[in-house]
Amino acid sequence: MSFISYSFVAFLAVLYVLYYLLPKKTQWLLLLVGSLVFYAHAGWYSFIFILVVAAVVYTAGIKIQDQYDARDEEISANQQLFSKDEQRQIKAQAKAKAKTFLAASLATVLGILAVIKYTSFVINNVNSIIGSNFVPYRFILPMGISFYTFQSVGYAADVYWEKTRAERNPLKLMLFVSFFPQLVQGPISRFGELSGTLLSEHKFEPKQAAFGFQRVLWGFFKKLVVADRLVILVRSLILDPAAYRGAYVVLLVFFYAIQLYSDFTGGIDIAIGAAEMFGVVVAENFARPFFSKNAAEYWRRWHITMGAWFKDYVFYPVSVSKAMQRISSKSRSTFGQKIGRRIPVYLTSIVVWAATGIWHGAAWNFVVWGLLNCLVIIVSQEMEPAYKKFHEKYPFSNTRAYDFLQIVRTFWIMGFIRVLDCYQNVPLTFRQVASVFTASNWSVLFNGSLLELGLSEADFVAVALGCIVMVSVSLLQEKGSVRELLAAKPTVLRYSVVWLALASIILLGAYGIGFDANQFIYNRF
């Protein structure tokens, strides 16, 4: 069930009314039922996978928790009897057993994801390398498998690291794994943060309801008015790369950036807004990424929960692992302190970014996309001292104008890397980007050929309007929550703003027959 379907709107309305009618105790159960109904729309085939992943992670959690509880009990029971070494020995033993449960559960869950998502990719590559011709079998990707798998892995790891206690009630854990707003495209939540607000009882508060509803409206506005309209333009540019080269590629980079931003953040706003209406606070996933002045900052503002997830569950574990420690000490001894300390971190970053890339999709363009991002971050990290000197030498570089320049620069760098998503073919992407520098069809941007790409003037007006609204809201958000601002205003103004949003969604939205609105970019992947 897609967020922008009539059935989702009806589903949300019904669930919302029931949620505040039923006794508080059963609220989380209703959310679970709602999530399962929401998920069942994706077909029974997908259902099995989410159940299995939840079950595996649930048992692992319980087993690990049992080890730790047994250990604590043993130690506290005969506090004086055991010497320090014996205590350390018991703890190590418990840790080792817990580790095997963790390893087994991760192997299964990630194994399932790997098999379902990457079999054909691996077979194709094996075929091309050794010339064999196995038949690459493509599985249907169950909805949201990449997201709930990561969320479950995070849960198991947190229990192992004793960051949170394991959830004894399987249904409550199932709700954590399958909570419908974040199922489709995240955000990837942490059990420690989410379980509290998700499983607690919520009284109906008008302010919270209004805020949640406004945020859902905001998500629909971005998704329907801007994103689904631009998809038409982006698609026509992508489907015929030979015809649309040179200046068109710049156009594609620009419009795909806006399209992906409004599509993804729109979807996340609907998710977070919907959760907020039920009183559940979900982690933020974007913080106005296009205002970032460098790549590192961009990745602290774009898809925040994914970045955090890879940092906590891939970057640190790898860099703290024994193997990496050895490399780190060896590199520091051979290359000296300054360079030596960088190499392990760069090595780990490359691993992390390659993983991030491949997670996005089973194709080389995603891997290259990840590595390019990594390269840009490492280069800007290396240039740090040079930048510092540059800033000290030239005072103008600390002015707002220079900041704006940096923002534009980051926008375009990220845009050109992101266009790998569109062509889904690495050599083709590089050829297209190269064609920009040898382009001679710059007139295309002004001589009205823009209108032959599937969008009329009226469409461009709607997109421009949408962008102006998005930019101004983002500027306001830099200072504080826009909804608080609105709440302070008189009710008449607040209602008219809500009316305006509703009217622009219904009238200007690119939905229904004639607009082949596609799914969220990240849906079902």
Partner: protein, 75 residues
């Protein structure tokens, strides 16, 4: 504790580690420093800091770091 502060000072001489309590939050220590710090601490105090321990609470101040190390020492 002094050895610990010495190590930190080696990386960032200009920071007063004794009473600064927001090393991570203010971005004074970045992921580089954390990784090499973990390697040095493991070596120096024969502890094995696990990924689970790398959370802002433990790294935000020298004091918190010292508590982490001592706790791990008698693990």
């Amino acid at each position: 504790m002094e050895k610990l502060v010495l190590m930190l000072a080696q990386m960032h001489p200009d920071v007063d580690f004794y009473n600064c309590a927001s090393l991570i939050d203010d971005g004074i220590i970045d992921s580089f420093d954390i990784i090499s710090l973990v390697a040095d601490l493991n070596e120096e105090f024969e502890v094995s800091i696990s990924a689970g321990d790398i959370v802002p609470e433990n790294f935000n101040s020298a004091q918190a770091l010292w508590e982490l190390v001592s706790r791990l020492q008698n693990e």
